[in-house]
C-alpha cells in the first residue's frame, strides 16, 4: 500500500517534469531566472569591481565601456555618474531586486492566502467583509496604492517591499478564494467533515495543498510585476535609496546624463529589469499551461 502511493506520486512528478521539458517558453524563462538567481547569489565572486567604492573615484565618472577606447580597464559596461562600475552594480542589483520581489510576493501570499481561505471557506459575513475590503483596494491602481503606503510608512527599500506586498495581497486573496470555493464543494471534503475533522485540519491538509497550482502560477507572474513596481518606486525616489544598487534607482540617478551622451548608465539597468520580468512572465505562462490547463487563456 505504502509503496503504491509513492509510485503514484513519483509518476505525477514525472509527468509534470515531462510537460515542463516540452514547454519551451517555461524552460527558457527558468533559465533566465536561474541566471539572475546565480548573479544574485554569486555577486561577490563574479562582479568585477566593488559596487560601492569609497571614496568614489570621480576621475572615472561616466566612462564608456568595451565599445569605446575611452573606457576604463576592467569596467566592461562603463561607469555611472560617481565613477562606479555599471556591470558590478547591475550584478549586485540582481540581489536587491530579486530579494525585494520575493519578499513582496511572500507578504502578498501570507496575507492573501490567509484572508482568501477564511473568506472562501467560512463564507457569510466573514466573506462579505473581506471581499468589500478587497474591492476598496482594487479601486486604486497598484502603484498608486503602493505610493500611498510609502507616504505613510516612509521611504526606503524595506518599506517599498512591504507596500507592494500589501498592495498585491487582495489579488492573491481573490485567486485563493475562488479556488477554495471550488474545492470545498468536492466530495472528499464532505467525507472529511463527516468523519469529524476539524476546520483547521481540513484547511491545512486538504484545501491548501489542492489550491497550490494557482498560487504557484500567479505567484510567479506576481513576482514579475513586483520587480517592476519595486523598480518603479526606486525610480521615483520612494524605494531603495542611494547608494543601494537597485535597478530602478540606478536608472533614476543616471538618466539625466543621456543628454550629455552617456547612454550606458541608464540603458543597462533597464535591460536587467526587462530580462528578469520577461523570464518570469515566460515561466509563469508556461507553468500555467503545465499545472492547470483550465487556466489557459
Amino acid at each position: 500500500m505504502e509503496q503504491e502511493i509513492s509510485i503514484y506520486r513519483e509518476s505525477v512528478g514525472r509527468e509534470l517534469f515531462r510537460r515542463f521539458k516540452y514547454n519551451r517558453s517555461a524552460v527558457f524563462g527558468l533559465i533566465i531566472l536561474l541566471f539572475m538567481v546565480f548573479c544574485a547569489v554569486a555577486a561577490d565572486f563574479i562582479a568585477p569591481n566593488d559596487p560601492y567604492p569609497s571614496p568614489p573615484v570621480l576621475a572615472n565618472k561616466l566612462k564608456p565601456g568595451f565599445w569605446s577606447e575611452k573606457g576604463v580597464e576592467g569596467m566592461p559596461l562603463g561607469t555611472d555618474g560617481l565613477g562606479r562600475c555599471v556591470l558590478s552594480r547591475i550584478i549586485y542589483g540582481a540581489r536587491v531586486s530579486l530579494t525585494a520581489g520575493f519578499v513582496a510576493v511572500a507578504i502578498a501570499m501570507i496575507v492573501g492566502i490567509t484572508f482568501g481561505v477564511f473568506s472562501g471557506y467560512f463564507g457569510g459575513w466573514v466573506d462579505a467583509v473581506i471581499m468589500r475590503i478587497v474591492d476598496i483596494m482594487f479601486a486604486f491602481p497598484a502603484l498608486l496604492l503602493a505610493i500611498v503606503i510609502v507616504t505613510i510608512v516612509g521611504q526606503g527599500l524595506d518599506k517599498a517591499m512591504i507596500a507592494i506586498g500589501i498592495v498585491y495581497s487582495p489579488q492573491m486573496a481573490r485567486i485563493i478564494r475562488s479556488s477554495v470555493l471550488y474545492i470545498k464543494e468536492m466530495e472528499y471534503i464532505e467525507v472529511q467533515k463527516a468523519i469529524g475533522s476539524s476546520h483547521g485540519r481540513i484547511i491545512l491538509r486538504h484545501i491548501l495543498p489542492n489550491s497550490i497550482a494557482p498560487v504557484i502560477v500567479y505567484g510567479t507572474l506576481m513576482l514579475a510585476t513586483a520587480i517592476l513596481d519595486c523598480a518603479a518606486l526606486g525610480f521615483l525616489g520612494l524605494g531603495a535609496q542611494p547608494p543601494i544598487p537597485e535597478w530602478g534607482a540606478m536608472l533614476s540617478n543616471s538618466y539625466s546624463f543621456i543628454v550629455s551622451g552617456a547612454w550606458w548608465a541608464a540603458t543597462f539597468p533597464g535591460i536587467a529589469i526587462l530580462l528578469s520580468v520577461l523570464g518570469l512572465n515566460l515561466l509563469g505562462d508556461g507553468l500555467r499551461d503545465i499545472l492547470d490547463p483550465r487556466l489557459k487563456q
Binding site: R132, I133, D135, I136, A139, F140, P141, A142, L143, L144, I147, V148, V150, T151, I152, G154, A224, L228, A231, A232, F235, L236, G237, L238, G248, L251, S252, Y255, I258, V259, G261, W263, A266, T267, P269, G270, I273, L274, V277, L278, N281, L282, Q297
Partner: protein, 334 residues
C-alpha cells in the same frame, strides 16, 4: 439594464467611502502630530495651534472625518502645504494634460494593438505572427520609465526629431481656455502651438501606450483565434465569402468583446504608468503632481490625489462594465 446600472452605481458608494477613509487616515497614520505635519517643519507653536483649530484637529476623529468629507465632497481638499494654492485647483489645472496623454496613448495602443492582433491571428504561426508576438512579449515585460528614457535618448537626444520634456515649447505664446492644449490651440487658431503640443505628446504617449498595446495585441490574437475556429466562420468560408470579408466583417466584430474589457482594465495600468511617464518627461500632469506631493510630504495634496484617482478609476471600470453589457447581448444583467 437600468437596474444593472443603478446597482453598479450603488456599489460605488462603499468603495468610494473606503477610499475616502484611507485618504483621511493618511495624515493620522503618518508618524508625528498631524497639525505639525500640515504646518511644516519650521512652523511656530502658534501657527500649529491655529492649524489645529482651523482643521478641527482638536475634535474627535469621527467629527474630523465628517468635516473633511463634507469639504471634500464640495471639491475642497484644503490648500497645498508647498504652494498654498487650493489642491482642487492644482489638480484641475493638471488634469487635462493627463487626459490628453492617456487618451492619446490609448488611441495608439488600440490602433496598433488590434491591427497587429488581427494580422497575427489570420496568419497564425507565420513569420509575422512570431515577430509580432515576440515584440508583444517584450512590450508587456518592459518598465515603462525605461522605455520612456530610451525613446527620449533615440528620438530626442540623438536624432533630435522630437522634444524630450514639457507640454509645449515655452517660446510659443498660448492662450488657456479649457486647459486641453490640443483643443485650445485649435479654438484660438494657434497652429504653431498645435504642432508644438502634438510633437511634445508623441514620445510620452508611445512610452505609455506600449504595455497596453502589447496586451491588446495578445488578447486580440487569442480571441480572434477562438472565433475563427467556430462553425459560422467555417460556414462563411464554405459558402465562398472572400477571406477579407470573413475576417473583417464577421470574425473581428465577435473577437473584439474581450478586447474591450482589457482596454477598460488597462486604464488603471495607464493611470499608474502615467505617474512614471510624466516623471520621465517632466509632463505637467496629475501623476507628476502626486509624486512631488509625496516627496514633499504635502498631505492635503496627496489626499486630494488619492480621492481623485480612485474616483476616475472606479468610473472608468463602471463604464467598461456597462459598455461590455451593451456590446455583448449574451450577458444577462440581473
Amino acid at each position: 439594464m437600468r437596474w444593472y446600472i443603478t446597482k453598479r452605481l450603488l456599489m460605488l458608494i462603499p468603495v468610494l467611502l473606503g477610499a475616502s477613509i484611507l485618504a483621511f487616515s493618511l495624515i493620522h497614520l503618518a508618524p508625528g502630530d498631524p497639525a505639525r505635519t500640515i504646518a511644516g517643519e519650521h512652523a511656530s507653536i502658534q501657527t500649529i495651534e491655529k492649524i489645529r483649530i482651523k482643521y478641527g484637529l482638536d475634535q474627535p476623529l469621527i467629527v474630523q472625518y465628517w468635516i473633511w468629507l463634507k469639504q471634500a465632497l464640495q471639491g475642497d481638499f484644503g490648500r497645498s502645504i508647498v504652494s498654498n494654492e487650493y489642491v482642487s485647483k492644482e489638480i484641475w489645472d493638471r488634469f487635462p494634460n493627463t487626459v490628453e496623454l492617456s487618451l492619446f496613448s490609448m488611441f495608439i495602443a488600440i490602433l496598433v494593438g488590434v491591427i497587429a492582433g488581427i494580422i497575427s491571428s489570420s496568419r497564425q504561426y507565420s513569420f509575422l505572427d512570431y515577430s509580432f508576438m515576440g515584440i508583444a512579449l517584450f512590450g508587456v515585460s518592459m518598465p515603462v520609465f525605461w522605455l520612456g528614457i530610451m525613446l527620449m535618448m533615440i528620438f530626442g537626444v540623438y536624432l533630435r526629431w522630437l522634444p524630450i520634456s514639457g507640454r509645449i515649447s515655452i517660446m510659443i505664446p498660448f492662450t488657456r481656455i479649457t486647459g486641453f492644449y490640443l483643443i485650445d490651440s485649435i479654438i484660438t487658431g494657434n497652429w504653431v502651438a498645435l504642432i508644438s503640443s502634438i510633437r511634445h505628446l508623441i514620445l510620452p504617449s508611445l512610452a505609455l501606450g506600449t504595455i497596453s498595446m502589447a496586451t491588446i495585441a495578445r488578447v486580440t490574437r487569442s480571441s480572434m483565434l477562438e472565433v475563427l475556429r467556430q462553425d459560422f466562420i467555417r460556414t462563411e468560408r464554405a459558402k465562398g465569402l472572400p477571406e477579407r470579408l470573413v475576417i473583417y466583417k464577421h470574425a473581428v466584430r465577435n473577437a473584439l468583446i474581450p478586447v474591450v474589457t482589457v482596454i477598460g482594465l488597462d486604464f488603471g495600468l495607464l493611470l499608474a504608468g502615467a505617474i512614471l511617464t510624466e516623471t520621465v518627461f517632466s509632463w505637467p500632469g496629475v501623476g507628476r503632481y502626486v509624486v512631488n506631493a509625496v516627496q514633499m510630504r504635502d498631505y492635503p495634496a496627496v489626499q486630494g490625489c488619492i480621492l481623485f484617482f480612485s474616483f476616475i478609476f472606479v468610473i472608468v471600470n463602471l463604464i467598461t462594465d456597462i459598455v461590455y453589457v451593451y456590446i455583448d447581448p449574451r450577458i444577462k444583467y440581473k
